[in-house]
């Protein structure tokens, strides 16, 4: 039996470290199981890091939102496209995909924001913005 700690991958979107899976290698494309971000794996002296291959693009935020909803079993409603436009506006004006319904432009409010990742949708039926909804 090995005492080695399982390796982890740092996600630059949700700032968490998730478990490195068998078969992954330098350059593998993986999805962060916490926020849904698509990442390309890179080994650094400090450990594995995920890079954002489509950073700052519409493709990135659409794929992240879809993947997050799939991971959590959440759904979207008719506000989806308007909220995506808001997220794109945040990226243009404030440099990343922060929650379009809030004033805060800090990593914890990168979509899906920390309160959402902390269970707001399960508690309230939706996230603050009404982007992610609990399925009926």
């Amino acid at each position: 039996m090995s005492d080695a700690k399982p390796e982890r991958v740092y996600c630059p979107v949700c700032l968490a470290r998730f478990k490195f899976q068998e078969g992954w290698k330098e350059g593998s494309t993986v999805t962060c199981p916490i926020c849904g971000q698509k990442l390309t794996l890179r080994r650094t002296p400090e450990g594995w890091v995920g890079d954002r291959p489509d950073k700052g693009t519409e493709k990135e935020i659409r794929e992240r939102a879809e993947a997050y909803a799939r991971l959590k079993g959440y759904v979207f409603n008719e506000m989806k496209e308007e909220i995506l436009q808001g997220l794109l506006g945040k990226n243009r004006r404030f440099g990343d995909f922060y929650c379009p319904c809030r004033m805060e432009h800090t990593p914890e409010f990168q979509c899906p924001c920390k309160p959402t990742r902390g269970g707001d949708v399960d508690r309230n039926g939706k996230c603050y913005c009404g982007f992610f909804w609990k399925s009926q």
Binding site: M79, I83, G89, R93, P100, C101
Partner: protein, 83 residues
């Protein structure tokens, strides 16, 4: 003419956009502050004002006379504007 309605909004917020669109569709002349686009000192002032009026920092906020409406709510807008 009474005072113009005032809207505090975020430029990226889809609900704020719906509120602005609703007012425009009903030919209501209003003042609007996109709080996220203000310079830092003006932004602090606006946020303090929003918090004083509503007790929180949620958008949009619409002030119509003595009525303060938080969130996009067409029924409340209609009632306050007597539409």
């Amino acid at each position: 003419m009474k005072e113009k309605p005032k809207v505090y909004a975020l430029s990226t917020c889809p609900y704020c956009k719906r509120t602005k669109r609703f007012l425009e569709e009903h030919k209501i002349v209003y003042d609007c502050v996109d709080v996220d686009l203000l310079a830092d000192n003006k932004q602090d002032e606006a946020l303090e004002e929003v918090e004083k009026l509503t007790g929180r920092r949620s958008f949009p906020v619409v002030i119509i006379g003595k009525e303060i409406i938080v969130g996009h709510d067409e029924d409340k807008l209609r009632k306050a504007l007597k539409l």
